[in-house]
């Protein structure tokens, strides 16, 4: 929550001293920060006492802020400067519970998801291993008023394990080809072995929550049957674990009659899926031979006029991803540099605190006492500055995390383009199948024509082949429809994505800049105070 508190916090010197020399580590990590800040730093413990005692969640600021309020409009300023660290949210990241209002025209619609309460459970079957294996389940709590879930606001919970999430993700990938589907969390097999159990489970809980919330924020996915089932269905997750073509409903293909023609039968439903993982091993091999790669590079031979748009888009997106990745890297280095600056400033402050104490205790001359006073002022300024750098950095991380997020989104975009490529490959495979079938028929007809009275076996063969041709043509129509559907999905997604990216990045930039400016002003105040306190030396001295 954002509280705007303008308190004139005047720290007494004694308080300052006790703050810094108190070495107990509070260890309160600022969640949401991508980089792990130094937990051993004793200054970290003091941040809570630096805050306004009345309201522990607000950050008190120095006096005289006419300059702040004059130029910055309060909401954005408050967002950048006064947002309290979510110490109460235990690890909840900054993705809002409410789905982004950009994609949701009716802002009264909500789909809020939270993941909590990890519990260890025993694997029931599989008695090969004595004692059995264990796994963790998580409580998925949903609050929503979407019509898919009944319409009037409701709240419900289910328990799911990570495998269920993988299933959900796989099913979504199949059903929503061409969409920019948020990527599910890693399986992290290595990490699960290496990390401390509690830490790993918590990390997983956080990433699951992020993932589900992203799904809920996608205007199309949030209304999917797969997601609904995942969130609502009690007991075991009623989604097929592997590709089960028979139970699928495919746009367009379901309306076509099935034609069972023996071993050459082609299930049109299958056609709409890439051959990989399907039952048509033959087609899979052929597609593998044809495809160069299903990533960004185009499938040979594909140079069709209408694809120019897609090719161009792909190029641009690749370039964008490259530059984004660069910026993201540099952003991390920037955050590190700010962190280092804050740390060193803090250490300098501590060194001066020690000096102050020392000179005060050992003072024989007045000049020493005077110097001790000066050093205390320096220490105060340095420590305050150090804390400001820390806060600045925490906010910087929150803003720049958008960059990392969009790198993730680019992966989803990549997947969508892959879907398109595979769909195109399917169409082309079927086309070449047709071509070779026609050739076979021609050859047989030619050969059969030479025999007087006809060649019964050949004629029968020709009939069979013609049936296959009809089925293949139907399949090809299906595949073409699927291909067009995917392209349309990509087009609309790109439009949505472009707008969202524009808005997100603009607000990220603005937030970053406001943050930097705000904290720089605060720091200027701190140092101007010290300059005033030591001005006498410049007037008197040489």
């Amino acid at each position: 929550m954002m509280c705007i508190e303008e308190t004139n916090l005047h720290e007494s010197r004694e308080e300052m001293e006790s703050l810094i020399l108190d070495d107990s580590s509070n260890g309160q990590s600022h969640s949401g920060a991508k980089l792990v800040l130094n937990h051993d730093d004793p200054l970290l413990s003091s941040s809570s006492s630096f805050m306004d005692p009345q309201n522990p969640n607000s950050i008190s600021i120095l006096s005289s802020h006419a300059s702040f309020n004059a130029f910055l409009d309060p909401p954005s300023y408050a967002e950048a400067i006064f947002t309290s660290f979510d110490s109460s949210s235990n690890g909840h990241d900054q993705i809002p519970l409410f789905s982004s209002s950009n994609s949701n025209p009716r802002s009264s619609d909500y789909l809020q998801i939270s993941v909590s309460d990890p519990q260890k459970e025993q694997e029931l079957s599989n008695s090969l291993v004595p004692g059995g294996t264990t796994y963790y389940t998580y409580l998925i709590t949903t609050r929503t008023n979407l019509p898919e879930f009944g319409g009037s606001g409701s709240e419900f919970s289910v328990r799911r394990r990570f495998k269920d999430v993988v299933t959900l993700s796989d099913r979504l990938s199949e059903s929503y080809r061409g969409f920019f589907i948020p990527l599910r969390p890693d399986k992290s097999v290595v990490e699960s072995q290496v990390m401390a159990k509690q830490e790993f489970v918590e990390q997983r809980r956080v990433s699951l929550e992020k993932y589900l919330r992203r799904l809920a924020a996608h205007p199309v996915i949030r209304r999917s049957e797969e997601l609904r089932v995942f969130l609502e269905a009690k007991g075991k997750l009623p989604l097929p674990k592997s590709v089960d073509v028979a139970s699928r409903v495919i746009d367009g293909a379901a309306r076509l009659p099935r034609q069972l023609l023996g071993e050459e039968a082609i299930d049109v439903n299958e056609v709409a899926q890439p051959a990989k993982g399907g039952r048509d091993l033959l087609r899979m091999f052929r597609e593998l031979k044809q495809a160069v790669s299903n990533d960004w590079s185009s499938v040979k031979p594909v140079v069709v006029e209408e694809d120019k748009w897609f090719l161009e888009k792909k190029e641009k997106l690749m370039e964008f991803e490259q530059e984004l990745s660069n910026v993201s890297q540099q952003a991390e280095l920037l955050v590190k540099a700010q962190q280092d600056m804050g740390e060193t400033m803090g250490e300098l402050g501590l060194a001066f605190v020690k000096l102050t104490k020392f000179e005060t205790e050992e003072a024989v001359f007045d000049s020493q006492r005077e110097r001790a006073g000066d050093m205390k002022n320096v220490a105060t300024a340095a420590v305050k500055s150090s804390r400001l750098y820390r806060e600045l950095n925490g906010q910087t991380v929150k803003h720049l995390e958008k960059l990392h997020e969009y790198l993730g989104i680019m992966l989803a975009v990549n997947n969508a383009f892959s879907d398109r490529s595979s769909a195109l490959l399917t169409v082309q495979t079927l086309s070449s199948d047709l071509a070779s079938l026609h050739l076979k028929i021609e050859k047989l007809e030619a050969a059969s024509a030479k025999i007087f009275g006809g060649d019964r076996s050949r004629l029968r063969r020709i009939e069979e082949l013609k049936e296959t041709v009809r089925a293949t043509e139907d399949a090809k129509i299906c595949a073409e429809r699927e291909y067009e559907r995917i392209k349309e999905n990509i087009r609309s997604e790109l439009e949505r994505h472009d707008k969202e990216r524009h808005d997100d990045f603009m607000s990220m930039l603005r937030g970053f800049v406001v943050n930097q400016a705000g904290y720089a002003e605060k720091m200027a105040n701190v140092w101007e105070t010290l300059a005033e306190e030591t001005n006498a030396y410049v007037k008197d001295g040489s």
């Binding site: 641009k316 370039e319 964008f320 530059e323 984004l324 910026v327 890297q329 540099q330 952003a331 280095l333 920037l334 540099a337 700010q338 280092d340 600056m341 060193t344 400033m345 250490e347 300098l348 060194a351 001066f352 020690k354 000096l355 020392f358 050992e362 024989v364 001359f365 000049s367 020493q368 005077e370 110097r371 000066d374 050093m375 320096v378 300024a381 500055s385 990216r501 524009h502 990045f505 603009m506 930039l509 603005r510 800049v513 406001v514 930097q516 400016a517 720089a520 002003e521 720091m523 200027a524 140092w527 101007e528 010290l530 300059a531 030591t534 006498a536 030396y537 410049v538 001295g541 040489s542």
Partner: protein, 402 residues
Amino acid sequence: MISTNRTLSGSSQSPRSPSSQPPYLSVSVTDPVKLGNGVQAYISYRVITKTNFPEYQGPEKIVIRRYSDFIWLRDRLFEKYKGIFIPPLPEKSAVEKFRFSAEFIEMRRQALDIFVNRIASHHALQQSEDLRTFLQADEETMDRLRAHETGIFKKKPADLMQMFKDVQSKVSDVVLGKEKPVEESDPEYEKLKHYIFELENHLAEAQKHAYRLVKRHRELGQSLSDFGKAVKLLGACEGNSLGKAFSELGAKSEILSVKLQKEAHQLLMNFEEPLKDYVRAVQSIKATITERANAFRRQCELTETIKLKEINLNKLSLIRSDKVGEAEMEYNELKAESEEATRLFESIVRLMNEELVHFQERKTLDMGIAFNEFARGQARLANGIADAWRSLLPKLDACSSS
């Protein structure tokens, strides 16, 4: 800028001074020039002296000096003016790579300039003949003197520490047949010694962090520059208004990077160096402490030796030995030496007490100025950063509305 005790200069000026002008002696160390080749390369400085002291050859004199000449001067003064805190020199060795970097040379030049000026404005040290030699002698003479003195007075801080430790523990015990170390039993002086040693530790730590802070400024500047470049490239990719926003941000980052580098340099020269200078000054005091300990030990030794000699002399005179004359002569010699040693020791004590008062005052002043510079620099930087980002906001708003 570091203050010098100008208030004391001229107070003990030669009565023969004819000019109506107040006496002055000001020196500047300028124009570092790299001479020589390869391993033997070194930096030479122009030392310009302006003075109306009668002992000097003229109102202005320019000589060429190198670092080891300054060491010669420091060592001579240390020998002759025991009890006085000789101004410190910048460190001798430097990592080979940086020995000729512009920054290092400038820092050294500044420190040498301060060194000579402190000597020139110290009421006692400014009378030194060695100072006159240093400021006026031609290069060949200087070379000869320097070569002659090499090795004799080379006291590294480690050596001084060792000597101090020696004084605290043994050696003289053998001569005197005693077990206890020969030390002053003045509790105030003990306190002072402890203070000086502790002070060095604390100051060294502060200086270390100040140096790191300089580095951090440079690093932050570098990362802002890299960040700005990357953001600009991303902006070029984006195109349209968002792209423009990115470009503006990138440009600002690069501007701020330059400000940070500038401030890093200021911080180094006006905050870190004065702290370093403070540390060196404390180390110089430690050297004086050692001298005092030596003088004290010598005085004790002689006092003890005289007692023995006195007893011996009485014995000899009782038995009317013909060695009495010799012994008496020895005894008188020793007595003179002992008186001399006592005088020296007492003068060291007196001088140290005077020096200490001035030292504390001067350091409060020096540090006050350094702190002020530090504060101004940081405020300047912070304001610059705030202004730069602030000026970007209207541009960003323009971009988002388009």
